[in-house]
Each structure stands twice: as C-alpha cells, then as structure tokens.
C-alpha cells in the first residue's frame, strides 16, 4: 500500500506536488527538480504531456521518482493513448510498484505546440478510472484474467472553477462511483468557486467518499499569470489578480502572497484532505509556502500529527 493510500485511508493530511516537466538530463535532473520540496511532499505527480506539450513520459518519470526514493503519482491522460496503450501503461506501472494513479481526460491537442496531432480520446476520464479499477479487480477490459492482479490507488481531477459549476460536484460523485479515491482539484484563482464546490461536496457527502485535494499554483511574474489566464484551458484568472501582480513593486513577492492567500483559504474549507502544489521553477517556493502555512515537513507530521484546522 502506498504512503498516499495509507494516509488518505487514515484521514491524515497529505501534501502532493507536481514535479516540473522533464526534458532530459537523466536521473540527476529528476532528483535536482524534486530536491527543494522533498522534505514536505508525500507524493510527486509525474505529469502526462501537460497542456498538450510533449515531454518525458509519466511512466518513465514515475520510475525515476521511485529510484530517487520518493513516491510517485502517475498521471495518465486520454488524449494521446487508446485503451490498449492505457492498459499497457497501467500494467507497466504496476510491475514497477507504482500504485498512485491520477486519471485525466486531458487538455486538447489544440492547447499545445503540436495542434496538428491526432486527438485520441478513445476513453474519457471517468471510463479510465473504471478501467484502472477493473485491472485492480484482476482483468483487462476484455475480461482476460490478470494474475496476480495489480494494486492501485486510483484518483482523478476535477475543476471547481469552470462551468457548469453546479454540476462539478455531481461529476466528482460519478468519479467516486467509478472507483476514484482522491481528486486533485484544478488550480482555482476564484476562492468563491472553490468554496462553493467544497461546501456542496461536504453537504452531499461527496468529500466523505473521496479525498479532495485543492491545487495551489505559485507563479512568479505578471507574464506567467497572463499565460495561465489565456493559455491554460479551464483556468480563469480574475483581471484584478493579474493587475495586482502587474502593479506590484515586486511581482514574485506578490505572486507568493496570492498563493498564500489562496492556500490559507483552501485549508479553511470543510473536507479538505490535503493540498497539491504546483510551481513551475525548481526553487524552494513550495517549501517556503508550506512553512508559511504552518504545514510541517512530512517526517514531523508523521511523528507529531497534524491537522489542517490547526493551521488556520
């Protein structure tokens, strides 16, 4: 059983983080990228061609994370693989001991730098969750037996910040029914929307059925903020937030303050199981933010215990 599964089952607070994309540099590059945040993070996401830009494959990076002595969460998107390839990558992950899987539909090819590519979408996100659960049940999609069956902690994502808002929690419930046990929520720059999602999830019991992990993104420049606002599908950055960074004497400090405010707000929501951090540069931003939020390093949390309510 993975650390993430053990902690989520015990309802312990978890910290996950996105490993920046890898484009070469060998195992040393993976280790260099994860080093600054290593003390705080329970599991690192190995992303799957984010924003439809090609990088090292999530399976290869997840194996590298294991070799570096940390726990991976392997993302899989439906955009680039048909069901046979998805099953092959899941089974490939299993033989290496990669258990944490995050199933996504995926940004469209038109969001990336190779928009002429064929989009696959043979399955959709909820179907991929059910597929992974089926493998875990000891059979391929065809019904062919797998012995021994692999073990996974299957998760997914949901976007609280994009329409249809009132339906997003029902979609989370659909993913829970399909077999998801955690959801890493998309970055949301509008606290009111995250609040609404978390409240409805709490009131309808959805946050009891799967662990909800809001994402916090640490940006550094007004340009970066504008890029996210205009080019990352499904993330809406309010004009005021962009202006706040543009007019600040030091953009990096202001971006950090915004991330801190959003993270504090997220921690105060009912049913929050942990936080997922995304920082696009290899630096100590995530460690610094955890410290400011009062989230102790992993070993300390495991020794002394920690609950999010203490921090707020």
């Amino acid at each position: 059983m993975s650390r993430l599964e053990r902690k989520l089952s015990a309802r312990e607070f978890v910290v996950t983080a996105e490993l920046p994309v890898i484009d070469g540099g060998g195992q040393a590059e993976i280790e260099r990228q994860l080093e600054p945040m290593r003390p705080f993070v329970d599991a690192f996401n190995a992303t799957d061609n984010p924003s439809a830009h090609a990088h090292c494959s999530p399976l290869a990076v997840a194996i590298g994370l294991l070799q570096a002595g940390v726990e991976p969460v392997m993302q899989l998107v439906c955009r680039d693989r048909n069901r046979l390839a998805l099953e092959a990558d899941l089974m490939g992950a299993a033989i290496h001991g990669i258990e944490n899987i995050c199933c996504l539909t995926g940004d469209d090819v038109s969001a990336g730098d190779e928009p002429e590519a064929r989009r696959v979408f043979d399955l959709d996100g909820p179907q991929l969750i059910a597929l992974a659960r089926g493998l875990q049940g000891g059979h391929y999609l065809s019904g062919r037996r797998i012995e021994p069956a692999p073990h996974f902690l299957v998760g997914a994502v949901e976007n609280p910040g994009t329409p249809p808002y009132e339906y997003r929690v029902r979609r989370a419930a659909m993913k829970a029914a399909a077999g998801a046990r955690f959801l890493q929520l998309q970055i949301c720059f509008r606290p009111v929307l995250l609040e609404r999602f978390m409240r409805v999830a709490h009131d309808t019991g959805v946050s009891e059925r799967l662990a909800l992990i809001p994402s916090i993104c640490i940006l550094r420049t007004a340009g970066g903020m504008r890029f996210v606002a205009h080019h990352v599908p499904g993330i809406d950055v309010p004009r005021d937030t962009v202006a706040r960074v543009e007019n600040a004497p030091d953009a990096e400090t202001e971006c950090f303050e915004i991330a801190y405010e959003l993270a504090s707000h997220a921690l105060a929501q009912p049913g929050v199981a942990g936080l997922h951090f995304i920082s696009f540069r290899k630096d100590a931003g995530i460690a610094k933010l955890c410290t400011r939020l009062g989230i102790p390093p992993r070993i300390e949390r495991e020794t002394n215990g920690y609950s999010a309510s203490v921090a707020v």
Binding site: A111, D124, N159, P164, R171, G234, D236
Partner: protein, 125 residues
C-alpha cells in the same frame, strides 16, 4: 444496399439534421438531454472536461457552447429519463460506427460491453 444499410441511411437522415448525429451506432441521446455527445470535440460520453471556458464555451471550439452544458440544461427539463445523465456510460464500441443505432437497440447489440467493463458499485446500467 442491405436493409441494415438502408435503415442506417434513414436514421442519419432524421438524426443528422436534428441532433448532429455522428452515427456512433450506440445512441445515448436519452441520457444526455437529447444532446449528442459525439459532437464534443473530445467525444466525451461522461460529462464535460475541465477545459470549459468561463463563458461556458468549448475549449477546442471557442465559438461553440459546451455540448455537456447543453446536455445538463436539457436533461433537467426533460420529463423522462431523469437522473440518467449521472450514469457511467461505457467506452464507445468503435466497431459500431456507421451502423444503425435503431437496429442495434432492437438487437441489444448496443448494450454489449467488454467482458471486463465495471460500471461501479452505485451506478445502475
């Protein structure tokens, strides 16, 4: 042309103009508020992706309203099949593309799923 081919042409003549039918051969219109999910550029069968724009338009085709937003609104207004939109629909059977969903409904072929498909503990088929 075979009978099946004629039926498929007749079906497309009706469902094409009305619903933008793509002839997937396994119609789920009843569970999607009579909105064809195959018009989603990602052909998603189980709800909207996370890329929907703040104005409710499609990530891929900014000029088009998200197919699944329309599906939700319409399914709420339908007097029948309430709640069917919440069901987990199985992966598309690509062997059925171009065939008549009407005939596949009658024969039950459209309800055949792969032997290893699990729909989930609290999802009714």
């Amino acid at each position: 042309m075979s009978i099946a081919g004629l039926v498929a042409r007749a079906e497309h003549a009706v469902k094409g103009p009305v619903w933008g039918c793509q002839m997937c051969g396994q119609c789920v219109l009843h569970s999607t508020g009579l909105t064809c999910p195959m018009n989603c550029p990602k052909t998603l069968r189980n709800g909207p992706c996370g890329g929907v724009r703040a104005d409710g338009h499609c990530e891929v085709k900014p000029e088009m309203r998200c197919v699944w937003l329309k599906a939700y609104e319409r399914s709420e207004r339908l007097p029948v099949w309430r709640g069917h939109i919440e069901h987990l629909r199985p992966p598309v059977d690509n062997q059925l593309k171009g065939s008549s969903a009407w005939l596949n409904l009658i024969s039950g072929r459209d309800r055949q799923v792969p032997g290893g498909w699990v729909a989930g503990p609290d999802v009714t088929p």
